[in-house]
Amino acid sequence: MEPLNALVSLSNFMLIPALAYGSQLALGALGITLIFSILRFAHFAHGDTMALGTAAVIGGTFFLQAQGITEPFGLPTALLAIPFGLLVMIAYLLTADKLVYKYFRKVKAKPLTLVMASLGVMFVTNGITRLFMGVGETRFEDGNRFLFTVREFRDFTGLAEGMALRSAQALTIITALVVMVALFWFLNRTRSGKSMRAYSDNEDLALLSGINPERVVMITWTITAILLVLAGTLYGLDKGFRPFNYFQLLLPMFAAAILGGLGSPIGAIVGAYVVAFAEMGITYAWRRVFTYLMPEGLEPTSMMQLLPVDYKFAVTFAILVIVLLFRPTGIFKGKVL
């Protein structure tokens, strides 16, 4: 039995990737939950706007690389391009709001009409992204790709099993942490943040208190844009950029937000990590880990994989179904049904 090797193997192939994936989902799910609590609809364009924001960052990255400005302190050039992506995304979402959503708010349309409108925005965004990026995969990760490699880890610890930490993963986890702290500080400590929470709690009373709803909506889109660009860029650095993959993130992001309780930011984060670890855990081949854990002669012969990776959406969906069946308000009671 070699529990240490088992742990290292598990960390390398499951825990670290799941933590990174969960962080990416959390940033996305936070946006969904914010839009839901302020604008009160399910934002279907989330995945595709994330793709567009990332495309802007990639464009900026390529531009910087062409100028010879690359790899600050060995970090990916994309980090330098993020401000550009933010500007593009904030402008894009605010324009979309002005041209599309604002009208439906004004006429007090049913939530589903807004969902439908977000579908239209999704189409348009999707088209724009593909105009620029095509449908294929774009890789834009550069800089030192590893904080430490499998070989370095093995040499350092002397263990049989190796572990690598990619810079993209480390960056993701750290950024997500910083962003979450900053977001909670904003929501709980600043006047604007509190006015957002007030608006989400009780729209009429917020109006009565002199809170300007259009300003709240603007702040919401701005924060969403920041979350989207960061989540999208980190996801792209980690796994490469393909527009369709971003669309497919929609389901796990929604599942995370609903699992945590729609409208609850802390819920979105918890939900995201639950979804990520469930997806990775159920589609992970546990053979290696158990080979280290079981006594000699009892090593497993099969892959010990509960489901093929192709079915990771099924895992997300199963989580969603369980939540809807047993606790539709989510772990942290979100907005009522």
Binding site: A198, D204, L207
Partner: protein, 236 residues
């Protein structure tokens, strides 16, 4: 005759369809308590909402300190010094008591500490619970939060829509005491009440509305003494 502090003068109007108010007049003097009572569906809340600008008037006007504010939005009226406590959903449930008060003072950009202190002195229980989410408080405490929130703008008129709906009699008495206290500080109170007898008891002026019209208008005590009013509206 001098102008009352706040008056909704001969108000006629409704929510788009048929008129609910018919030339209805409601007024309150500085530092006094005016109470609107009447049977269900008499348009009590509607009359108050009309004074606050949540309903478009077809005829009549609303004047605050002599200034015509008929065309102002409710938000603008808040800035003019009117505070309003709706009957239901009048707090931010997931926010703490203190945050509720802060949100009440959203339009103010000066130091709100002193006002908050006044609210805590008026409702000491809120000071103890200031970090707790307002939605977790009892019904009476929530009403205190709601009133406290409205006081945060330092209004000259406070309008309360059935502040005692759904609270126990003891809490109701307590709340009425606080309202009298608020009036003593020079704030005019305009209030709609189901509990007509208790409300008229503390009222300087009472308005009995029936079907959107003024039926009886007098001091609170006089209305309580009036056998007609007693018979029809106060249950004998």
């Amino acid at each position: 005759m001098t102008q009352p502090f706040l008056i909704g003068d001969s108000m006629t109007g409704g929510y788009g369809g048929a008129d609910i108010l018919h030339s209805c007049t409601i007024a309150v003097e500085k530092g006094e308590i005016a109470v609107i009572v009447g049977p269900n569906g008499a348009g009590k809340s509607t009359a108050m909402k009309a004074v606050f600008g949540m309903l478009k008037l077809r005829e009549g006007s609303v004047r605050l300190q002599g200034e015509d504010i008929t065309s102002l939005t409710p938000q603008a009226r808040v800035r003019k010094g009117m505070g309003f406590v709706p009957q239901t959903s009048n707090i931010f449930p997931s926010m703490s008591v203190e945050e509720n008060l802060e949100m009440g003072a959203f339009i103010r950009h000066d130091d709100i500490k002193a006002t908050m202190e006044q609210v805590y002195e008026l409702f000491p229980i809120l000071r103890d619970k200031r970090r707790q989410a307002a939605g977790e408080l009892s019904g009476g405490q929530r009403q205190q939060v709601a009133v406290g929130r409205a006081l945060m703008t330092k209004p000259s008129v406070l309008m309360l829509d059935e502040p005692t709906a759904g609270v126990s009699p003891i809490v109701m008495d307590e709340l009425f005491d606080r309202i009298i206290e608020i009036a003593r500080t020079g704030i005019s109170i305009l209030m709609v009440e189901q509990n007509a007898r208790q409300a008229l008891n503390i009222a300087d002026k009472g308005y009995v509305l029936v079907q959107g019209e003024n039926r009886y208008t007098d001091t609170g005590q006089a209305l309580l003494a009036d056998p007609e009013v007693r018979k029809s509206f106060l249950g004998g």
